[in-house]
Amino acid sequence: MEKSIFMPEDYSKDVYHCEYLVIGTGAGGSVAGTLLAESGHDVIFLEEGGYYPATACNSNISEMTAKLYRYHGIFPFIGSPSIGFAEGCCVGGGTIINGGIISRTPSWVFEEWVSDHGLDEGTILRLNRYYEIIERDLNVMRHEIEKDDNLDSMKLLHASEQLGWKYEFVKRAVKECKNTNLCPTGCPSGAKQSMLETYLPRAIKNGARIFTRCRAMRIDYSGKKAKKVIARISGNKQKNIEILCKYIFLAGGAIQTPHLLQRSRISIPSGGKFQFHMNLKVVARFKDRLNAEKGTILTVQVREFDPDGLLIMASNLRPHYVATTLSHCDNSVINSLLEDYQYIAIFTAMIRSKSVACIISRFGDQPFVIYKFNPEDMKMIRFALQKMATLLFKAGAVELFMPIVGVGSVRSINELNEKLRLLKARRLKIVTVHIMSSCPMGIDSNTSVVNPDGRLWHMENVFVTDASVLPTNTGRNPQATIMAFAHEIVNRHLGK
């Protein structure tokens, strides 16, 4: 019986053939390849990272970060300030390292996509239908309130109720969650319904093959037709292989997909720039014991400012994350907070930012990313930190440690406002985990990279089914939307 999952030592041939080549096994790629395989087509998945099922995941954060993330989770966007991007690079992609949060793109963003990017209403209707299929496929559920766990999320809930702010119990793709709080480093119990637990087994059952540790280096084409992909196998014995195929579905993510196209000299005039969400992390000290490490990842999102592009939620707590979040502070701060470990929690403000990043593919194999900080984002950041502080002080926090170099801690809103008055962008500590719209879908080939079918405008047989095709950032966790677009693109291709 032919192998389904290829490790570096399994590549005995130099040339492989398939009908559909799907590059990337994250949210978009897994959906695309699975639907194609279930329709009876011969599919090969190419995945740059390694294969780590639940049994291979453990609580050693540095070890798992090395295995599951690109560059150990420290891919920098150069700018002022520089931003750290934590990108999954393994079979299952970002769905292995995310919190499994399933959110639908809000209606006001869909309206933007229709009015500014030409997406038709029919597409939006179908995306909404696909959300239902996805939520069923991933066993999506709202997390139940835990009596003694997730007290950090409960703090947000109670404070929101007191302030009259909207909040929601998030929907997550989980089955019998064991509350290990290890979502960012791979769920060791298999409870998180990542692509490895859901779509990819279906694809394998229908004959799909997954080539792991296999990085696509170049697409060879003639005229408007792609012919084959040259890929490099990493590991002890590096070698190149060729995969000849009829169709290519690109799903390497919003950086790697345009990077591959640019390296292959496939022109994407409107591509190569992307949008992202900015995450600001605040460490809060409370008088009450929270034991925030107990319980699963965040369960409550404060959505009062959702239309403004701001979400507030609790974040994973581990001593590693306390120290890395506060790496801009003196060790005396870290010492103090580790002594009060049971009384602290980390909270994140996620902003739908206006800053735009650019991928430069001239420096060799790996992309270089620079971005320009949009001054509008500064207003939003101030707003986010003020709202976060209002909420956390209401929740009973006695001290907040801000993601701002040189600020130290604040103990009141007035103190924060005073420190925000002279805030400069270069002093901010920002991270991101959501990037999108580098190959946006649209109806005009001058302003978009893929047409409404998800096909590259100037290529007959190359499609994109990852976060790149989203016309803009969404302000919400994007996994479900990426999957919905993949459903739409594949179904249109198959004529369904």
Binding site: E63, H72, P319, H320, A323, S332, L338, F363
Partner: protein
Amino acid sequence: MLKNTLAGFVLTNIETLWLYKSLERANPQAIDDISTFVGEIINGLPWYYSLPSKVLLFITGLLCIITTGKSMRFLSHKRRSVFLKYIKIIPLFTALNELIRVLTFLRLFDILPADVTNEL
């Protein structure tokens, strides 16, 4: 020299943490463990990040030997702090230290003995 310079950076970033004393007692190889981890990550970065990082480490190490007669790792905490205070003027030094600091923290808590992590 690069290894000792990296170890010097690692030490600087953790020797004032209260956890470090417990770690040092339980695991005398801890600094080498963390330095190896950080070094492997720097080596694995794209060349336009790893090459400048290694050049900066080399320059820092060389300057340390020239000005103090010793590798960064073997300086006392006080002398190392003074040296690093002046070395900050080198362009991109702060970025390099931040990178090493974050990676050091990531590894530190995974090699702490169980009785220390239980104290948290």
